[in-house]
């Protein structure tokens, strides 16, 4: 479904899967990707961080998160200063805004 670009439907399903199995890093990763695809970047950041906190050794997760950070910094440079590196992923479940964010930019849909 996600592969076909039906991202709203994919988001709905990953959210439901996350409610049923909230500590599953793979579901959280998929949820984060769907949130990104739907323009919900703050929520995606939160989901990626939660996923990484649960599975810090997952290469695919780390790659996804690194790509997301790369995109998000160029998209929202004024608020993404604290996103650098993967070492700050231990605060999963924290704020759903990037550190230092001023809330501007209107990234979420």
């Amino acid at each position: 479904m996600a592969k076909e670009g039906l991202w709203q439907e994919a988001l709905f399903r990953f959210e439901r899967a996350d409610r049923l199995d909230p500590k599953n890093p793979k579901i959280l990763n998929n949820l984060a990707v769907a949130q990104e695809a739907n323009g919900q970047f703050d929520a995606a950041l939160k989901s990626y961080r939660q996923a990484l906190a649960l599975a810090p050794g997952s290469k695919d997760l780390k790659d996804n998160y690194a790509r997301f950070v790369d995109f998000y910094q160029s998209y929202r440079p004024e608020g993404a200063g604290g996103l650098l590196g993967l070492s700050d992923t231990g605060d999963a479940g924290g704020s759903d805004r990037p550190e230092g964010s001023n809330g501007g930019g209107g990234a979420s849909s």
């Binding site: 592969k3 599953n24 998929n30 990707v33 996804n64 995109f71 160029s74």
Partner: protein
């Protein structure tokens, strides 16, 4: 996955197991086959996302833009492309105005005739009063200026070519003339605040196009350069979408 591919390509080394009994060899081959099938069992899949790429300049409170004159750079000792009936500055200004009208929400306004106080770009950019005055006169929140360096290069030359003689079937080498024309465009784009005269943004856009003929005229080559650069130029003034790839897990248990 690379490891899997290496294993498969390593199969010719089977000679080293030639001494093994047939069942053992079959087992080895089956193992390779299983490894080759592994990609089909991948637990993740790559998907493509369309993500927004923000405009390079902060457009809050900016509604109008005017294209101010650009300074054309000519290289010493070089035949000017203007001599080939190309008005580089006029063509670029028209192209940029059309692009801004078509691709951005900004209102494109005219500056009218502009007399530059200097043709030294660095000096020009320090003259904030000039830009303030131009911005007020044109009623433009943003002014676009910079420099243009367009070069047509005759890249024809002899190349060595292999051919098989129809007479004796042997391969020979011969020198052939290859006619090529190169078009190089180097644009320094500067955006100035029409109210304060402050430089808001500057970037360099370069493109090179090569054609296997000497019959491509300068203006066609120039527009090939501009079409190649237009997405990057537009992204200065408006949000664009870019494609990104992410991994999704297919086995979530």
């Amino acid at each position: 996955m690379n490891r899997v591919m290496t294993g498969v390509s390593g199969m010719p080394a089977a000679s080293s197991v030639s001494g093994l009994r047939v069942p053992v060899l079959a087992l080895v081959l089956l193992s390779f086959a299983a490894l080759a099938a592994a990609p089909a069992l991948r637990a993740e899949v790559d998907v493509k996302l369309k993500l927004p790429q923000r405009a390079k300049i902060d457009l809050r409170g900016k509604e109008s833009v005017a294209v101010a004159p650009f300074i054309v750079v000519t290289r010493e000792g070089q035949e000017s492309p203007a001599g080939r009936d190309v008005d580089i500055e006029r063509e670029f200004s028209r192209f940029l105005e059309k692009l801004l009208r078509r691709e951005t929400d900004l209102r494109v306004v005219e500056t009218g005739p502009v007399e530059l106080p200097t043709f030294d770009l660095d000096d020009l950019l320090t003259r904030r009063a000039f830009w303030e005055d131009l911005g007020a006169r044109a009623q433009a929140d943003l002014l676009v200026t910079g420099s243009l360096d367009f070069d047509v290069q005759d890249r024809s030359g002899y190349r060595t070519e292999e051919f098989v003689s129809p007479l004796d079937g042997r391969t020979y080498y011969r020198q052939v003339l290859v006619e090529q024309t190169g078009f190089e465009y180097d644009i320094l784009l500067i955006v100035v605040d029409g109210r304060s005269g402050e430089v808001l943004y500057r970037d360099n856009f370069k493109d090179f196009q090569n054609f296997q003929s000497d019959e491509v005229d300068a203006i066609s080559g120039m527009f090939e350069n501009l079409f190649a650069l237009q997405d990057r130029i537009v992204n200065v003034f408006t949000q664009k979408e870019v494609e990104a790839s992410r991994a999704l897990f297919t086995d979530i248990h």
